[in-house]
Amino acid sequence: MMLEVKDLKVKYGNIEALHGLSFNIDRGEIVTLIGSNGAGKTSTLLSLSRLPQPDAPKVIEGDILFDGESILGTEPHLLVQNQMMVLVPEGRHIFGNLSVMENLELASYPVRNDTQFIGETKDQIFSLFPRLYERRKQRSESLSGGEQQMLAVGRALMTGCKFIMLDEPSMGLAPVLMYEMFRALKELNKKGITILVVEQNAKVALDFASRGYVLDTGEIIAEGTSEELSANKDVQKAYLGG
């Protein structure tokens, strides 16, 4: 297993947000974590990325293993520098005062000496998202929501990490852009990128992923392949509109 989450309990202050999550991901997979508002999806990804409090909750029990080793004590920038995993956060968090190109260059910090990789990855990003190429010199604040999401994904690719976690990449996107985004992610997966995607939109997520977990108020209540979950009566009722 590449990533193993074991009985993870996390707290914001005194409020427990996750009550003992366990799940795992192997290299090359597309896995989704679905759940409604407040289920704990973002809390899970923030915990995995090891961001400090108060940006992220505090892990009080359980463990997170990457290739069998605990990363609980690892600083967040080292997870990225060591090419383990990178998060595309909820709300995108692009650097709006920098241009599109500068955002990408900044994100290439972990691979700064590998000019070949940087060049190839830029080309790859621009062929996946031609709109970004058109706007490469523009201040990124002025991009539309969908374009900003593309930039956020592009930035994650530039870090060189082969495991990308995405927090609701479809949020705020028109259906056309949303399908464009998922198609791009699928293409990346074919090139060897492992993906963990968090979604409220269960239908889209289960179409896209091969496996999933259903999260409800901080607990996993169902898991299985996308087919199994789509066929599950409870999941249908709660998340797929009947």
């Binding site: 961001l51 990225v80 956060p89 650097f95 709006g96 260059e105 900044l106 910090y109 972990p110």
Partner: protein, 304 residues
């Protein structure tokens, strides 16, 4: 009349240079940490003392050296010492608060207290008697068209402009400058790019403290009487200048310093000098109330 004007222009540029170099230190730390580093005026004061001891030592031990070399060495060592102080403060005071996610109010109070600690620490260690800054190379007075201009004044103005040009280059044309601008917009995402946030903060404090060091030496040379409270008023004024110019932007902070320099000199030219601060601050207040983002303030999002 013309010569008075010219004389005042040079004085305004000189004082503007001091305010600007200190204002930039406030601006940089504010941009990266959203922290008003109220200890910065006292870091400037400490820089004056570092420069005093370093220059005195050189003059005592390397007596034969030409003045400009002593000046250059003093400059470098003072920058190192002041950066050390700035980093020490960052490490022992601000970083632990940041780690605990303390409310900004506590951080600002900490900054204020650090200022008092520096002032009173200095008083305790060195005593109340004020010191005279040594003369590193002779003051030369140029007289032309009824204007008297010293080589010191020229050095102050030229150095301030060069320091700003260099800073501007670092912030806008280097990788670490790009990272500083990114931090000022969104700190959250910095570690997600694999970038160690603390390294950028460290670099920012080095830049701000070095500018205070340069200001400290030049101020000591120009106004050679040092005392532990000398950084307080000038620090507050520089902070106000930074805000009036637009603390969101290094250009704003730099020009803000000169705006204050000019206002002060103009006020003195027309009113008794005891009115200087009163009228100067009334004018600054009016500027701020007309343009609350600062004179050169840009969109809220740019912070360096």
């Amino acid at each position: 009349m013309f010569s008075t004007l010219l004389q005042n222009l040079f004085n305004a540029l000189q004082w503007g240079s001091f305010y600007s170099m200190i204002a930039l230190g406030y601006c940089l730390v504010y941009g990266v940490l959203r922290l008003i580093n109220f200890a910065h005026g006292d870091i400037f004061m400490m820089a004056c003392y570092f420069a005093f001891f370093i220059a005195s030592w050189f003059l005592g031990n390397l007596a034969g050296m030409p003045g400009p070399i002593i000046f250059g060495l003093t400059m470098i060592l003072t920058m190192v010492a002041t950066s050390g102080l700035g980093l020490f403060i960052e490490r022992v005071a601000y970083r632990p608060l940041r780690k605990k996610g303390a409310h900004r109010l506590y951080v600002v109070i900490t900054a204020l207290m650090l200022g008092f600690i520096l002032e009173n620490g200095n008083l305790a260690v060195l005593g109340a008697s004020s010191r005279r800054f040594p003369d590193m190379f002779g003051k030369i007075v140029f007289q032309f068209a009824g204007v008297s201009l010293t080589n010191y004044k020229i050095i102050v103005i030229v150095t301030a402009v060069l320091a700003f040009a260099l800073l501007n280059l670092i912030v806008n044309s280097t990788k670490i400058g790009m990272a500083m601008r990114a931090v000022s917009y969104d700190k959250f995402a910095i570690p997600l790019m694999g970038i160690p946030l603390n390294r950028i903060i460290t670099f920012t404090f080095i830049l701000g403290s070095s500018l205070a060091a340069v200001a400290g030496i030049l101020f000591g040379m120009s106004y050679p009487v040092l005392d532990p409270y000398m950084g307080m008023i000038i620090g507050w004024k520089a902070f106000i200048a930074a805000v009036v110019g637009g603390i969101g932007d290094i250009k704003g902070a730099f020009l803000g310093g000169f705006i204050l320099g000019f206002i002060e000199i103009i006020v003195v030219a027309f009113f008794p000098s005891s009115y200087k601060d009163l009228i100067a601050f009334v004018i600054l207040l009016v500027i701020l109330s007309v343009k609350p983002t600062g004179f050169f303030g840009v969109a809220k999002s740019t912070k360096i």
